[in-house]
Symmetry: C2
Subunit: 211 residues, 2 copies
């Protein structure tokens, strides 16, 4: 089973969080170098993404920096999902320490994506999505797989052309949505009989908490 | 109560659908003029959006043409939602007749957006969202309203700055998501007691069918 640490806590690494050393007032240059023990390559990427040199990465900066294999930008919803996972201090931005977790997470998912993109098309089709989810432990019915493929594909399927497939960022989001919803359903299914009883408030809370 | 025809069938208008008169093979110019009875202004907009002159609008062309008040592009998910509503012949693209419905729908929603954007900020904040949904007949709890605002805002709220608010396209999507989920819940609540019992398949189908 191929199971990345998706949706979970960010990876911990050594080194202290020096984020507070870089207030917005610093202007166009960093007054200090990278934090102690920082990976120099990661620090270079971090400063490249932090285009306003504020010392932390905003949702706009992150969206501008993240592209799929076909150069399309990540959806705002995927970027917000990543920030929700990795902005552990809830500052609304990503500091360098948080960035190291985010970077590793994206790299891991890129490996997962390449592994399941068997035909090297650069997108995940319905069959590849089914294989990926199955390897994560989610055995969805053909009906749900079709709904999922249609929802996360880059466009509608037409009668004349094959489905455009699912780009990297939407593939990650689709997998995390399935994980989040499945776990929420299982929590609600307290007697484990496969059925849940819930009121409108509980139902809406579960859905709106998914990415 | 302010209730646009949101999420419903496209508006009908007179005139015949001449879409099939413009096959992809026509190349870079339209061989004929607008359909009989067509609004000349709408025809001009349609041909401007149809940048490859195929005679119909693809999801990519529609996304390139739709911008919010702050010039940000519509999310792919909003564009796909609009295509799902207005691509009534399920061709995967929007013909001129379908475009007339889409155009009116967006115009109507722009009116709704302006009506509820009381402070003329160009985005909808949590209070304005509550007012809008209430006027549509949806009385959500503060918990759900907060979740909804966070999910559809253009970025995370930070400790230092106010929430960036909800742009036009994400406002429309938020409203249609609430409508779709609420109606699905009500259909599942067959005895109208406010509680539903469902299995995993039914639950996932409802969620994945929402935009």
């Amino acid at each position: 089973m191929y199971r990345p640490n998706y949706g979970g806590a960010p990876y911990n690494s050594q080194g202290r969080n020096y984020q507070s050393a870089y207030p917005n007032q610093l202007g166009s240059t960093y007054s200090t170098g990278p934090p102690y023990n920082a990976d120099p390559q990661l620090w270079q990427w971090f400063t490249a993404v932090d285009t306003d040199r504020s010392g932390s990465i905003s949702v706009t900066e992150l969206q501008a920096a993240l592209v799929n294999g076909n150069w399309s930008r990540f959806d705002l919803d995927t970027v917000k999902m990543l920030m929700n996972i990795f902005d552990t201090d809830r500052s609304g931005t990503i500091g360098f320490q948080e960035f190291t977790g985010l970077w590793k997470y994206i790299s891991d998912w890129q490996g997962v994506f390449r592994h399941f993109d068997k035909d090297r098309s650069g997108t995940i089709d319905g069959h590849e999505l089914a294989e990926a989810l199955s390897s994560f432990g989610y055995q969805l019915t053909p009906t749900l797989l079709t709904l999922l493929e249609q929802k996360y594909a880059s466009g509608p399927a037409t009668g004349f052309a094959p489905s455009p497939g699912i780009s990297f960022d939407r593939f990650v989001r689709a997998c995390i949505v399935v994980k989040t919803l499945t776990e929420a359903f299982q929590r609600a299914d307290t007697n484990r009989d496969g059925w849940v009883t819930m009121n409108y408030e509980e139902f809406m809370k579960i859905v709106l908490n998914a990415p």
